[in-house]
Symmetry: D2
Subunit: 419 residues, 4 copies
């Protein structure tokens, strides 16, 4: 952490961070109206809330909203590569407790999360269940007394279900990811668009006519494959789920195993939400000059450590590219395997995060105000719908109304049955 918290450079940094947060605010109408109104009903006052999401301007605006509603907020980054120093400076300047700094290495980041656990939050707005899992390991006392977790991602949702299945979830957890206002927009429009943008910008290559392998065909992978095909790439998919694999086939992509696919790929994007999607045994399949990038939650989808061990030489042709030379082949990894659209870009479009963070903000409010059994829950449809209504209103879109004569969709058939 820089000690330079009083000098002129510090103030410039605060000003830049403030401008970024103001920009996020200006383009987040659902957070600014619908969510704002809910949060400010007094129920957040003095609640201890940890916000552990990629620590950039949009997250900062969510944290600010919670703090302004009276909550006692601690903010931490869910990934060491994605923390924005200017935003951190502005948050601290506004009196919000931030435990993360830009540029932390993995060990430092672990310590930051421990500090967030020591904050002893009642509620966690989490991403990848990173803080939740660490509270469980490091502060089991806090884990037992947690009042609720709202989780952002597919990866974190899988972890929460695993905890529940193992009988280790003593508090209610909301999977924001399963809200329609989250996964139907964020995972599809957000990640697909911004992942390819970042890969193309950082690599300087063209997609038209090139071959790209997408590993994992969930919402994120499907979005990436769809955009890549539209940009005239030839898409190949590696997927272990048979229905998704069939979907990828019907979408016009070549579906196969790592052995079928990797020797042809000019780009490989991992999007499994798991770990080691591209691992030691795959390296011999990669072609010279291939670009590797990760769109999934973990830095661990591309096994960069194994790649490092396998490489004859390692070079850095540009700040965001590491080149591993394996014999005669150069393998380029973007952003060291971190989420390429955030670490190597500016993350999701602000209007999409307005929806995702609305789900998180409303989710936190719902957890605070609703008695729920321990276990994984989904945001009630009525709140999901209300977020969509607020967004439509901000967009000036008029929703059609159901008409009385349409209400009996069953044309009397059901009513006439008597048992």
């Amino acid at each position: 952490m820089s000690n330079d918290t009083n000098g002129p450079n510090h103030q410039a940094l605060v000003d830049i961070g403030r401008a970024k947060i103001a920009w996020a605010k200006n383009h987040s109408p659902v957070l600014g109206s619908f969510v704002f109104k809910h949060l400010n009903d007094g129920t957040l006052r003095n609640k201890r809330i940890a916000v552990v999401v990629h620590l950039e301007a949009k997250t900062a605006y969510l944290a600010t909203l919670l703090a302004n509603a009276g909550a006692n907020v601690v903010a931490a980054g869910s990934n060491p590569a994605t923390t924005d120093g200017a935003v951190v400076a502005a948050l601290r300047d506004a009196g919000i407790h931030v435990v993360s700094d830009a540029g932390s290495d993995l060990a430092t980041w672990e310590r930051e999360l421990h500090r967030a656990a020591d904050f002893e939050p009642d509620y966690v707005i989490d991403d990848g269940a990173e803080l939740t899992a660490r509270i469980g390991k490091y502060r089991p006392d806090v884990f037992q007394s947690l009042k609720g977790v709202s989780e952002q991602t597919t990866t974190g949702t899988a972890r929460l279900y695993a905890l529940e299945h193992a009988g280790k979830l003593p508090f209610p957890a909301l999977t924001a990811n399963n809200a329609r206002c989250k996964h139907m927009f964020d995972n599809r429009y957000g990640t697909g668009q911004t992942t390819l943008q970042a890969v193309l910008r950082l690599s300087g290559r063209r997609l038209a006519g090139s071959k790209i392998a997408v590993i994992g065909y969930g919402y994120v992978g499907r979005g990436i494959a769809e955009y890549a095909a539209k940009l005239h790439a030839r898409v190949m998919v590696i997927e272990v789920d048979p229905v998704r694999a069939l979907e990828a086939h019907m979408d016009g992509h070549h579906v196969g195993t790592a052995h079928d696919v990797l020797p042809h790929a000019e780009f490989v994007i991992t999007a499994t939400g798991g770990i080691r999607a591209l691992a030691r045994q795959d390296f011999s399949l990669l072609t010279h000059d291939v670009i590797l990038a990760n769109a999934g939650h973990h830095d661990l989808e591309i096994d960069v450590d194994a790649l490092s061990n396998a490489a004859d030489t390692i070079s850095h042709p540009s700040p965001d590219t590491t080149t591993y030379t394996l014999g005669t082949r150069d393998v380029h990894v973007l952003c060291n395997g971190a989420l390429v659209n955030i670490a190597g870009g500016s993350g999701h479009p602000v209007e999409i995060m307005d929806l995702s963070f609305a789900v998180q903000g409303i989710g936190a409010h719902y957890l605070i105000n609703t008695p729920l059994d321990p276990g994984v829950h989904v945001l009630p449809k009525v709140l999901d719908d209300a977020i969509a209504r607020s967004k439509l209103e901000s967009l000036g879109v008029t929703l059609a109304q159901p008409r009385p004569e349409q209400v009996d969709r069953h044309d009397g058939l059901i009513d006439e049955i008597e048992l």
Copy 2:
């Protein structure tokens, strides 16, 4: 029904029907291998099964498979406009009981369904819950003793849930529609593609640059809108669900009410799965020369009776088109408001129906062999996956396998938590 069951014309009809069913068989590898093996384990012997789906070649092949496995099958059409006379002749020639004929009017069709109810089936493979609902009304005794229903569509699924909610579902019902191997392919690739094909062929118009209104943005409506946009149409969507409306907006379509949208539409396609999606109060909004067509289950989505009452004159410029003249405006309805892709085309692609009918065939087998509580059930994921695996195999696609080192997706985090 034609009495001409022995003459040479009859034999020619049987031959045509047989050729069509043979064609369906040749392009249905999942039905022919995976489903065939399941059905022929002896458990279908002497089971009374009603198959009530659009009565064309692909349905006939499913009915034949069931009969060959020893079941006592009755076949009926789920819609009077979609029954293929040659297929009926071939089925009857093969000794299968068929209660429907081509060209029936609505009253005749009702009598056909009553005959199917009087067959007293144990199991129903249904479409729109058309037979199930009629058994409920007309033969409550049979309704009480039904052992299971497997339902094809969104509309029928809604009806089954409504019955369950009203406490009127005394048997287990499988919603084939909710199987991923059904709705992820049939509703999206099947209906979207074939609806537009039929509309363009029957109307002789171009989509490029034209404005098309899609009413309802479920799987079917979304598929139609997606294809229309790809064919360079400008798509407008009317939808009452706020999240779907937002999805339509983010997909790049204009979203609005009937008043916003209809005065600009050159084509209007209904896809709500309900009734009166285009009704009396909308007629004044339609422009001269507009084409109306229906892609939803019901002939009732376009209120053709009301249109008929409102029209000054009615003409038939071509066999599949009815023109209603309202003052100075001509409104053209395709296929009298029946499902345009089946009534005015040849239905879904055969390879897609291979998946949908695999779900129905496996669903019937599952109902017969599994003790289930009354209520609506979904096909177990393991069977859904097995259907997809069989399809992938027939397509020569190799599925990737999960690797041991990927199995702990949670990288140890969960295990280390102790409560």
Copy 3:
């Protein structure tokens, strides 16, 4: 030709044909206003004009417009498989001389074209240069005195240039195909859309996930490939021109030779505008159950005669499908290799033909009113633009106007140079 020209069936046929032509008229605003005005300035009076295009409703409307403007018109079909009997009946009933009949075989069609040559036209509106070439062979006297030809297609344009190059073009010929209002719309939106529509409807197959080979990547082939990719097919292209082959590659298609491509294709579409694009030596490369169809001008792109010679058996599973069995492989040819979108569909969308026939109608008027040297000419840009303006007007589209301050695009740079 049917002799039944007075009976009630004949009148019904005339009525059907009239209704079809009226429908074409109603959807052809450019022909009905801009072209109508030009043609009716008196200059067409008593000119002998042959119209030799696919003889269906849209062509009939063009012929009617010319006749109503005072021309002495003979109409013939440019392909024996695409003549519409009802349209022929209606044209004859209206007093227009028609030499073609529906259902003619190739020999009859040749005789029909000879009759058109014997009509001794001054001007020919041609398609594929079919009449022009036959006048050249059969009636060199008429060929020498021809005053002008306006040609519809890429194929015919190539023939005209070949004639010019061989010193055998003693009259001015307009290549309508090179007008932007023709090839930018007709070849791309018209053929791409309607070819795939016809192939999918006649075959009952799905494109999603399937492999389609397109032979020839000109405007037509590119349109087909584009639509097929959008319908989620995997497209393979065979092309001999290197720049077009590179374009196909950059569009995301697999580019290769017949040996690379055909063994993987489930559909093969020819679109070279030449002959024998799929010939004897290719048959051993085709897979079982492949669908072959032609989108190019000639019935000769698929060498059906050679296929017939090579086949063990030939069958007709449906009216529009011929199945050639080669050993264990079935090869299905749609519409006997004729243009599948016209012979097996209803041709191009009417609004697109409004543009193409506007070019032909204005082209004929231009030939009549403008002294031109022998040779191939292109419609002047000012007329091409005027057709587009008329279409935009009919569509209610307002064209932006250049502004004075934009007029010097060169920002003074050019003016300041003095030599």
Copy 4:
């Protein structure tokens, strides 16, 4: 220009520039083989060649190739906003004469071009005809003795034709832009993709569901509109050419005037190749928070000076964004109106520039080796084709070969005509 040409920082800059040029070389197989071979036949030796294109790595590789082939090269940037300082340092270090520096203002840039004119080149590889026009104005003596110009862009081609039309073109000029290997790839795949990438990254906005106005529907505008529609934007087009306007309509875009379109646009992209496409009279039509960016050659397409005069306040929320506040409306201009994909991104994909610069390199060689009349010329088709062949070879794509039996495309018809 920095004087620090010997310090350690300078060497680091040289190394960065070298690495960039090496990267360009590694991904430019056509330049590296086909073009290299042509250039090194000895004919370039001691020729004075000016290379005036955006001065970044790919241009530097072209300049290096020319210099290594023995030419006496001067390099200048065609736009002051797009010169890369590291690349300049590396070129100078390699002994190539570079007159431009990064960060020059307009006046400095003019002086740089004058220095390039004073180099008295025999040949110019130009972009926008920027150096050609300045030689004409500033050094008419050099202009008279110029031996040839090869021009990159639509804008520059228009200028050369204007010069020819005004009788002011005393030397042969090749329009590289009209080579198929240039405009079919560079303008379409290159600019469309990279312009939207840059706009989305710099603005942090989403395209899905948003409205974007594209001014100008040439190759560049069409590419932008196509990609924007694929990313689910709703596209509006302003175009003065009626055929292009009709094409935009048929592509599914809304076509209208500035008054129709601008009040709805969230993004406005200029792509006319002219000047003042977005000018004083348009400002009142812009909505609050609109993003303006330019994809055309000139910084003058968006009249930034007029916007500056009209603004109440001007701010710089980020390095690449200038915000003009007009009353209550904020109007954001990206990269000050310079080409957003180069000034705010890293330009075209390297593999696309390999084609464009192959055309320029081969064009220069052709000018040097071929006696041509003064006037605008197009690269011969045989050379265009050869470039495509070389690219296909580098991509491992096998081109199909015409077969003898296809050669007579006219099926004998032409031969049988005798005059």
